[in-house]
Every structure is written in C-alpha cells, then in structure tokens.
C-alpha cells in the first residue's frame, strides 16, 4: 500500500518570496506522483505530475517539483509566490501498473503574507 505525508499543515510566506511544500511518500513499488491545488471555493485541479523520465517536473503557474527516489520525496517549489497562490496543496501517489487508486496527503495550506 502507498501512503503520503505532508508534514506542514500550514505554510506562511511573504509575497515574492520562494516557497517549498514538502511531500514524502511510502511505497513498496514504483509510483506516480501528483500535486493538486484547491483554490478557495473551487474544486481541485492538477498542478503537475511525475510519471517517468526527468525528475524535475514543471507545472502550471510557475510551480515545479522534484522526484527524489532515494529520499522518497516529491517537494513542490516556486521561486516567487503571488497572492493568487493562496490555496491548499495536496500531494498524491499511486502505484504504477496496479489499480487506479490515488492516495492523497492531508494537504498544506499556503498563506501568502503581503
């Protein structure tokens, strides 16, 4: 079975500062990894995903994430945040070539400070 840990439930950061949202996963098999974002009063949408190949994945709105197999991590980064990045961010994992279940983390709420 797979599991996801997002250690930070909330992350405050000043506008135009860099941010890193941490995600660690556990799995006995190879995985696919995802970051979804939920803006206030909106549904979840995909930010980016890692399936294979390059470990650095670029997504929408200037976000990127790096897959680190040895550390079982998939941290999300943005070099300069904007007030519009205020949202809840969910890391998710699924097993390759298995079933279709995706396991989500508990989410990290990003607060952008003016």
């Amino acid at each position: 079975a797979q599991s996801v840990t997002q250690l930070d439930s909330q992350v405050p950061v000043f506008e135009e500062a860099p941010v890193e949202l941490r995600c660690n996963y556990s799995s006995s098999v190879s995985v696919y990894l995802f970051w979804y974002v939920q803006y206030p009063n909106q549904g979840l949408q995909l930010l980016l995903k890692y399936l294979s190949g390059s470990t650095l994945v670029k997504g929408i709105n200037g976000f990127e994430a790096e897959f680190n197999k040895s550390q079982t991590s998939f941290h999300l980064r943005k070099p300069s945040v904007h007030i519009s990045d205020t949202a809840e961010y969910f890391c998710a994992v699924s097993a390759q070539n298995r079933d279709d279940k995706i396991i989500f983390g508990k989410g990290t709420r990003l607060h952008i400070l003016p």
Binding site: Q42, G43, K49, Q96, D99, D100, K101, I102, F104
Partner: protein
C-alpha cells in the same frame, strides 16, 4: 465543455436518515472516483468505477455506504442511517480512461451536514 457536476451542492439531514449524492462525470470519461474531504483530514478515497464496475470498494467506511454507476455515466453515493461523523464534503472526480497516471477532474463537491 461541461466539467464534473455534483448535486446537491449542500445537504443538511438528520441523524438516521438516508441520503443520496449524485455525480455527473465529464462526457466520455470511463473512470469515476468518490472521495470524502473532512476538515484537516485531506482527501479520503472511497471507491472508484471503471465503466459500471467498481474494482476497488476498499475505501467505503462502513456497510452504510454504497455506490453505483449506471450507463457508464452518472454515479450515486448512498449513505444509509447517517451519523454525525459522516458530515464532510463528498467529492467526485472523473478521468478519461483507467490508469492511475491520468489526471482526475474534480467536481465542486457536496457538503453534507448531519445534525
């Protein structure tokens, strides 16, 4: 085109009553998922459908929960004899095809409050 829709958007019910939550996936999407989002708990997987079959029902919390999908399209999640701990936002998502590598498209959710 139209996204995933869910109805009702809000449901308030009394403890012990049954409720039905509906999900209309994006047309042509064969995979459909139900999740429960509770405050501070993230998204909890409930069940997924490939077509009308549900290969994985392992996330259903108890036998009070059931789901069905008809015509490879609309799905209903039924909660019988609701309890206060069932209060949460129930999210539905669909995907063009099976395979966990595919993006899931989420609906706006149904907020269920059990008094």
């Amino acid at each position: 085109g139209a996204g995933v829709s869910q109805s009702p958007s809000n449901k308030v019910t009394e403890k012990g009553k049954d409720v039905e939550l509906r999900c209309d996936p994006i047309s042509g999407h064969t995979a459909l998922y139900w999740y429960r989002q509770s405050l501070g708990q993230g998204l909890e997987f409930l069940i997924y459908f490939q077509g009308n079959s549900a290969p994985d029902k392992s996330g259903l919390p108890s036998d009070r929960f059931s789901a069905e999908r008809t015509g490879g399209s609309v799905s209903t999640l039924t909660i019988q004899r609701t309890q206060q701990e069932d209060s949460a936002v129930y999210l539905c998502a669909s995907s063009p095809r099976g395979g966990s590598y595919n993006e899931q498209f989420f609906g706006p959710g149904t907020r269920l409050t059990v008094l």
